[in-house]
Amino acid sequence: MPVGYSIYVERPSYLHKRIDPRTKLFALCTSFVLALLFNNPAYLGILLAAVIAIGLWARLPLKSFRAYLLFALWFLILGVVIWPFYIHQGSVVLQISGVQFTSDGLLFGLAMGLRVALMVTAAGVWMMSTSPQHITLGLLRLGLPYKAGMVMSSTIRFVPLINAERATIIEAQRARGLDLKRGNPFQRALRYVAVIGPMLVRTLDMAQSLALAMEARAFGARPNRTMITEIRLTRVDWYIVIGCALLIAAAIALRVLGIGVLVRGYL
């Protein structure tokens, strides 16, 4: 049974095929900066919608966003519950045993949840539309040393294998009567040694085999490496980069002017 290796989803879209991974990385960073510069839920909501729209334009399946949004939902609930303890701006909407929940407090909590959703979804769109090879290649072209790039690719290549080993070990030990469900958390954690022990051995074993195989093929022999895959920055890439830079500048200006900021004094 094959073991999957990345979040990348192959699609014949413009975003996948024509836009350089470095550009996409810059766009991702832009979205993070924008997420941090606004704390008004309306603005963040619009940005989130824009990111999802880009993802849909890249022909990513709608249900792939579900995981990210569900993840963010936790933060949203947490935010709406906790932030009102700190933010007392605005009219009181709720009062529970002496604690006052104001409208702005709740909205700020919502904004924090949307911020997480925005960042996580943007990262998701980036990973789903850029193959691991391209991500690594982009970073290498940006100056990442090739050995570090190899660490990244190897990780992507081997994490699923290690996961598969873990699953096999758990099966093998369960077949010997290991019960990981019984007992209190402390007892269960102790029993996990039966899984972690073999995992460490297997992982070290695999790492050693990999290292030998790489040495056998002269990895590290030269200060640099040829790369047969090519990526190139085109005019469209530069337009996007400039566009993102302008967005950042505009957002900073808006922030300074207090627009898109629900609560001053908080990020």
Binding site: Y5, S209, L212, A216, N224, R225, M227
Partner: protein, 288 residues
């Protein structure tokens, strides 16, 4: 004839935490030969491969003595990256020797490390894929390949280095029968169509007999037999059901028949077809 492509003189080796693994290996291999290596587990077969490849002593530590010359280079004194252009190796585990996420990426890995020009690499890829019977597989994700396919890609990646010597260390032991056949077909093709010198450690003696020019048995760090398959499996003293590999069943059969004088030693063969022909003749004679 010329210089042998591999020459080993008085090789001994011990790992840091163990006893002597190789206890004096002397060996000569000529260009283009296909040498099979058999022997019980722990005999030193893998260690010998590592020495020939130069991984010992450069990557793996231990006490090494003796000389190994491959393609005119002394493995103990030559950089492994330079050796890598002459000797390539395929390991036992299909999974951990594949580095690339796609077939193309894995095939390019070796030559990329040696900074060969991108165009040269791209041209070589379809040729090498054709040799291993996987034409068109460039963009396939490596995790989706079967065991046999993975090992064939490993062979292909080794061939991308354009080595003079190809070492395969038990390449089929993790594979199912189909995968084993696939690998043997590839080495058979390499033997017939290319000039590569092949060294293959194997337990599948029946198939090894068909492809090897010569088989070496290693036991407790020493070479105890070295002969073409016919002679090798004829050595009853070596095999009389005590040590090492199982024999090809036809060899076992003919040795026993020879012991009872039903078969002439000169007619001995480890090959299935020849054995059938021989027995056919003998049974025909008996009928009359």
């Amino acid at each position: 004839m010329g210089e042998p492509v591999v020459r080993v003189d008085g090789l001994t080796f011990r790992y840091p935490t163990s006893d002597q693994i190789l206890c004096g290996i002397n060996l000569e291999i000529n260009r283009g030969e296909f040498v099979g290596i058999t022997g019980p587990s722990g005999a030193g077969k893998t260690t010998l491969c590592m020495c020939l490849k130069g991984l010992i002593p450069h990557v793996i530590g231990g006490t090494i003595r003796g000389r190994i010359i491959v393609q005119g280079m002394n493995t103990r004194k030559t950089e492994p990256s330079i050796l890598a252009e002459s000797v390539a190796m395929v390991f036992q585990d299909p999974e951990t020797q594949i580095v690339g996420l796609t077939v193309e990426e894995d095939l390019a890995f070796g030559p990329e490390n040696l900074m060969r020009p991108a165009s040269e690499i791209r041209d070589a890829i379809p040729r090498v894929l054709h040799t291993v019977g996987l034409t068109g597989y460039e963009q396939r994700e490596t995790y989706r390949l079967s065991g046999g396919q993975k090992q064939r890609i490993a062979i292909a990646s080794a061939l991308m280095m354009e080595p003079q010597v190809l070492i395969l260390d038990e390449p089929t032991s993790e594979l199912d029968p189909l995968g084993k056949d696939e690998v043997f077909q590839v080495v058979q093709r390499l033997r017939e169509e290319h000039q590569v010198t092949i060294i293959m450690v194997e337990h599948e003696v029946e198939q090894l007999a068909n492809v090897a020019d010569r088989i070496i048995q290693i036991d407790r760090g020493r070479i105890v037999a070295d002969a073409p398959p016919r002679e090798f499996f004829h050595n009853a003293e070596l095999f009389r059901r005590t040590v090492g590999e199982r024999l090809p069943q036809v060899a076992e059969l003919l040795l026993a028949l020879e012991a009872e004088e039903f078969v002439d030693p000169v007619d001995f063969t480890p090959y299935e077809e020849e054995a059938i022909a021989l027995l056919d003749r003998l049974l025909l004679r008996k009928r009359d």
